[in-house]
Subunit: 293 residues, 6 copies
């Protein structure tokens, strides 16, 4: 169950309206790595979890926080739009770049659809999609997804930080940056702990017996480009992080196997095939098939 309190975790109040920045801020609200994504991702990971205890509690604990971040950003965006001018008809205002940013000037739906409100979309107006969510039931994979999400998130907030000089906005971004710092660190140690406790390990999923995979190519870097420098990395020689092998550098892909011949499905799929003599015969084959139908 979720409960709501009419407070914000941190103040979300801009110094002045800025419709252009409001649009940009949508990215970390409704984008691929925005707050809706992590709120939903941690939610589905917790509901799909297979063990009780600290890992699931962690997911529950942070999931609800992220829903509050959704709220903070939506609140901020609505205020950035609050006193921005309405539109084209205030022609005069447009002479001054400092106030050129009308509501809906860059994201028209801010004006037309939401009436100067926040929307569940990214900075290009793409509606948020659950196709962004990762929740596989395997915690080592998912915590790695989470670590990435928080890295991308902090990176995006850092970029946004340079795109505004509004003190109120920067304060909120500074708060979000710090939380993303925490969450990066957190998912990284949580992943480590899974490994240290023998619950999960590399390669994911550890429960699939490696003996069943094609071990000949399990640790080969195979170079399908003509750059030579990939041989210099730690992925080209030495022990592998899963502790089960040694990296090997293969400078050129070995010869492959011949492609199987092209498929020839049922004639009634009407694909283009080598016709048996003439088109008439081909049509005849279909006719025969039709007779049997």
């Amino acid at each position: 169950m979720f409960f709501h309190r009419q407070e914000l975790q941190f103040k979300a109040k801009p110094d002045k309206p800025d419709a252009v920045f409001a649009r940009k801020l949508q990215e970390v609200l409704g984008g691929q790595y925005g707050e809706i994504t992590v709120a939903m991702q941690y939610g589905f990971q917790s509901w799909n979890a297979h063990i009780p205890g600290k890992y699931r509690d962690l997911l529950f604990g942070i999931g609800a926080e992220e829903m509050g971040h959704v709220e903070m950003l939506a609140t901020m965006i609505a205020q950035l739009l609050e006193d921005a001018p309405l539109g084209v008809v205030e022609g005069a205002a447009q002479d001054d770049p400092a106030v050129a940013a009308i509501v809906g000037g860059t994201d028209p739906q801010h004006a037309i659809v939401a009436g100067a409100g926040a929307r569940p979309v990214d900075s290009n107006g793409n509606p948020w999609s659950a196709g962004y969510v990762t929740a596989s039931g395997n915690m080592l994979a998912d915590f790695t997804a989470n670590a990435n999400a928080e890295m991308q998130g902090r990176l995006q907030v850092a970029r946004l930080y340079h795109m505004t000089d509004d003190k109120g906005v920067k304060d909120l971004l500074a708060f979000l940056l710090a939380r993303d710092t925490m969450h990066q660190n957190q998912w990284i140690v949580a992943a480590q702990e899974l490994r240290e406790e023998g619950i999960e390990d590399l390669p994911v999923p550890i429960t699939f017996p490696v003996s069943k995979e094609n071990r000949e190519v399990s640790y080969q870097y195979i170079n399908f480009s003509d750059g030579q420098h990939a041989s210099e990395g730690k992925w080209a020689s030495g022990p592998t992080p899963d502790g089960k092998g040694q990296f090997e550098y293969v400078a050129e892909p070995p010869q492959g196997v011949p492609m199987p011949p092209p498929t020839k499905p049922d004639v009634r799929f009407h694909g283009t095939t080598e016709r048996p003599g003439t088109l008439e015969k081909a049509a005849g084959a279909v006719q025969d098939a039709l007779h049997k139908e």
Copy 2:
């Protein structure tokens, strides 16, 4: 530039047709973590790279391999569909569950749209979307995304491995499992190497000065749920992986700040507000605004 050779990296030949499994196999071809995703992801990461040398060569080298995996899976799917029965009218065949799997029985587009061919979609028929791709220009974030992608990928292939008893299919899956093992290991050491060489570090992006973030909450686990066990994890105390702080456990979220008052944008957005006395007055305000237009 890309060059194509009419060979496959590994043989992709099923023992027998299986239209139901063909649909399932679409997931690792055209799904969120399918081969199209990683091929495109490594491609865009290489084109957006900001340093020459081993890291970019690594991206180039593996990106082209993944395009070949797309090809292997498409080839396999087309063959799984090749001799599967066409459809409803072969009613008799449907009595036998072993051969009930007609082309298009579970993914109708395999039959109707592709004529027993592979499609760039996932196992539920959702077209592949570039919304799955991650390429931020920050390599530590992106390599973490890549490690996750290979984990999710190997996990999905492992699950598929249990859903078929076709030896030819299993051979291909065993090959893909091994390559995913390699790629998981590879991205993990590549991420480590970035840190060891001082090129990138935690928290991502390391170049954003942490002094600008709100350091008070940079290492706090704040528990927004009522589970008590999250305090037992390594994210609740002890040093942080970024080497810059100590984790702290906050059992209950501190009091927040009051929400800012609701926004009151321009009357001409026609939002619902407290009306100044009567609706007539409200309409009057809009009229006034209209007169100025």
Copy 3:
């Protein structure tokens, strides 16, 4: 801020596994009118609200409840999948229709992607999209949207009720049906109250002066089909609900106005136009334009 408690509002426990029904139940979790939609919709309406007080409190109060419904359904779906058989290789099981429902049999992503977990998608596997959300800032419009959402929601749950005989599932559906009954009633009276208090009225938005619209056609039913019975409805004569006019039935659309002539944009858009004599001349016009570039 949102807080999570590790309880469910109502028990969500099926009597037995049922992977087929798990897929169907996804509709009211992640479909157009599923719980994610209303949770997000009430959230964005509250964050975009322009007046404090009872209406916004109502939105806050119910929004958090709906997030809890998301959780109940995800929990139920995971359990419906929990002990369902894994897949094709248990061929024998497939003889018996009663247990034919393997995990991923109809939604393969339940098995391959989520490992027998719930997903943020609808019953056809379409990822939830924020394109379903309505939050305009105008409460009379939005409360009508909400009433509709709860009607569609109750309708879908009622249909699902007939598609299972699992007592545990039916109990949860009976609970959801009752909440949808409440929420239908609630949004309808909330919309009435807005009108009674003179805060908003028909036609929405009441603050736009009707004198600015083309009043000649404000109350005409114009019949663009050849059915004759639409003249029998209350929309064909009598007073209008907005209290500002009388319905009128127009049996046949009046003659329209001529279409404007086709557009002729800049030649450099290379649209197909009447060529000035010859293609050479047309190319010449582009050449001229190019010279000026």
Copy 4:
């Protein structure tokens, strides 16, 4: 069957080109509540209708009108783009904000894809999606959806009205505003008539026996937020619109039920579970399962 006449229902001719407004106008052509949505929605509702007569005739009659509105808006947009400047190379023109609006300046696809033509997209360039359409077969639910669609539509047109000072455009908007006024009124009385005629009623669907729902919570407002004002609304006490109960205000959610324990699906889904002793044992369990495959 549909027939086309080369006339417009109302003149659609702008006074001057305006590529910026052309983009904004796309919202009411191809957005969530644009004319394509209502044309398709009324179409599918009519084709899925289960009773002949006035209600279906109403749907047929208005559906075709909406297709004509699609045409009017497309025609208008093409003209708004017709004589707008082409692009960057007319640098000089960009000095003057009044003519800065080049074709494709804000929606590049207007220029690159359509050659100064209209597109079936919204004002942010999102392609129209049938995910916007509602057609459930239940007329009370669907007419409520229709009333909402016309409210959102009129609201959006009203907002657009303030964003232009083009007399020709405003004339068309004034026409659309009036039609939306009609259609709001119409769906509201049609919904009333369904109830008065005993064909459908609250709660939707009336044919599902309320005795089967969990009546204890059918009329409770349960407050999941900490605002106190929701108790002041008509949804907190008094009779319910469905005539079957009394509203009740529940200031705080009653205690919930414990969550069921986490699921433990088949080991071959490779989810993260409490491992039976060691990872080796876990892998052993999968091995055992594999042997049986």
Copy 5:
């Protein structure tokens, strides 16, 4: 303007219910090449047309026909679902494959969302997307798109023809096949006529001066694969259809040009670059930039 008549162009009445085929038939209603696509495509092409007369009249004339085809298919689908059994609880019925096809058995939304009605989606339940529509303003390109659409359409209907033995359904499919035959022929001659009349020609767009393109590679087939047989086609030698050159076969791609060095954008994008000495220096560069902000 569009007018509706309550007739169908051709009878659409199945002999018996068939929920499985109803789902398949959705493809040609709401799929990439379904009737909604062509109805919208011809509509937008007509509204974006730049010349009056026969070509635009052709688009208007056929566009309305296609809307009628949408209606015929929706009507057919609703009837295929009409008397199909409801669902799981009629367990007994499932023993008999001939009647196993419950409503929503393969497309659950047929049951849950539409109540045994048609939906604006394809056979995998993907909502129709305006991303399928082509309307560029260039008629030779667009008529080629139309010819393709009618080919894909007829191909899909032909495949569907083999998947049913319902006489009523086959009658409708036979009608659609014939119309697709007409429309293929029609767009091909219309494209020819554009060329013969000197209105448009190859290469599209003919008005762009070929002298501005890189003529060295205008007629070269460059072989980026290792197959040798492409040299045998008419695209490898001989005159080109545009009448302006001779095909040439290039057996191997000529050497390319070196890639430009990786980009180095502003440090404040926090991309991964070669760090100037140490990470501290890198952070310093950002600090400097921040000071200037």
Copy 6:
């Protein structure tokens, strides 16, 4: 298998940064008819091909070239963004329209998500979708799709050519224009060759017996609009391109057939029907059905 070489087919180096044009160029990278589309389309057509030899070799040969075009455009876009200014805080720069084009000014994701890198999206930021791909297994249909794709592609590049005066960019566009010229010509002769060799013919699919279609309407142009000029085209009289008939002009659609009566599905779908007497009776019917459940 695919191999990568660190060269470009043609130089891709702009003279100067131009973030606005970078966004526009995204269209031909990640749009409906961008290079990702054709690369994937030719790939899937080759993997789904049913005959070995020249046609499949052609698809393999050009598919890999198109992947190289993806790379060239991504490389170009990254450079167009490389030295463009970062954002709002450089307020002064915004006074000068010539340098107003900040990174992310029109496509914010260029800045926030990609850090001044290319993205797999179109010029409005829509992620590339595999819904754009055509690969049916029928080569005459698919080659026609390909001819169209190359026409739309060249048209879009031509339009872009007029929107920049950057010599480096124009050079790349001139190269792409020439390749599109080649590819248009190539697919047209390939389609002809299929017909000349008797492998495929009109109407597609030629293997479906035309005797099974409704021949009465196979060559009729039926005019569903009131324009009179369509009678003047070659599609209104004379021989048809498939060599099997004569075009016929039908000035007005013949009378249709009556619509079938509305459907009446199972009462448990709760659709709105004529109620048998009273709502109570209707509910009773559902009750009866429920009892049987």
